[in-house]
Symmetry: C2
Subunit: 234 residues, 2 copies
Amino acid sequence: MASKAVQVETQRDKLERKEAAILHAARSVFVDNGFDGARMSEIAKTAGVGEGTIYSYYESKAELMLAVLQQFWDGLTLEARNVMAGVKAPEAIKRLDALATYHLEIVIRNADFINLSFALRRNNSEVSVSRDHLRQYVSVFDEIFRRGQDRGEFRPEFLLWHARDVFYGTLEYSARSIEVVADTKGNDRPQKPVIDNLIALFANHFGTSDQPSDMEKSSEQLNRIEAKLDQLLS
Amino acid sequence: MASKAVQVETQRDKLERKEAAILHAARSVFVDNGFDGARMSEIAKTAGVGEGTIYSYYESKAELMLAVLQQFWDGLTLEARNVMAGVKAPEAIKRLDALATYHLEIVIRNADFINLSFALRRNNSEVSVSRDHLRQYVSVFDEIFRRGQDRGEFRPEFLLWHARDVFYGTLEYSARSIEVVADTKGNDRPQKPVIDNLIALFANHFGTSDQPSDMEKSSEQLNRIEAKLDQLLS
DNA sequence: CGAATATATCGAGTGGTATTCAGTTTGTCT
DNA sequence: AGACAAACTGAATACCACTCGATATATTCG
């Protein structure tokens, strides 16, 4: 009985190892050549299996690509959570700063992949799965923002998804802009100003007015006024 | 001589008409079936030419698609300029509101096309052209924002492209979110709150403090008080 | 163990489609 | 009109994702 179970286990492992090999090979070939440029034959050769074998694991080239994308997004989500776990500051603004830095870096490095995620919107069945993984990923933002609202850092009346759209939308679009800028000049790190701008924007627009800027100005002014009153009174 | 010139002219016209017919047919077939689903044979039949003829106008299916996309963006740019010409208000904020409304509507309706514009990033030669057309399109925003800075509505220290990234990035991402929301509920027009939010954000973050927010009202009052004190002191 | 059965793998073959090209039509010039 | 050029055509080609019958490998059971 026990030996039986072990054998079944190893067999399952073997299949899983093979599936992983296919996925790994597919990923590398897709990255190198894009979706259309990738040959199933090359993926098979790289994975060390016959072409037909791939089709006993994945129904089609598109579904294989989808599996690769899912793995990709899952990895991103995991790493994002890791990054956030490493940020000790409790302030939502600081946490968003860290998340934005991580995300922008990733988006720039994996622009092709991310574009493909959205470009694969044709066969609807495929897309729906991908959507879940995307939702997983953005939930990292969601948690931070909600907590920020709970802590009184962000105004409670804002809808979560509006803030999310501003956050991810700006970063994704910026990634494209940065690519263009980087192509033109030999610029090194034009990313920081983008993030600073976005974070300032969040503090301004979504933040409660406890922010130091205007408030401090007024209170300085109040101090001056009080001093002047003292002058008058003395 | 004269007749010669005329004949050359009509011949050229004929070619242009044929090219236009191909482009028109291609657009319709691409819209109906997507890039992969479109058959060159169907495009040829629709345009009323042989399959081979297409290849004397466009080198490949991808390049044909690119031509369609360029025409598409040019049309968008033209219409955006028309819309803006119809907006009489000089305030940059109001003009951005109109532009955002137009753009969001367009992005939602032509999501497939717009995705494809970015998805076609493979053969680099093709892409570069598309980039110019995109730049044309966003220049509508650029002019409004610059003018807003000149008029003192927007702070001059902000980089144009940061503002642009926030604007278009948020709208594009929102378009995707709205699609999801619309799929889920039978919601009618969830677009307005998105735009209101974006415009308020622009006023807050990029705007000069001439806005009459509560904070500023108090600070104006403080200014008046301080001035009166100065009067007393002098 | 070894036969019987089930499961996994393979790669040559199939079908479908973008692209080519030799032959044909259409237009132009003298 | 006849010679030359330009434009056009669709049958033939090339290329690939995907299928399927044959083969190898694992599992079950007498």
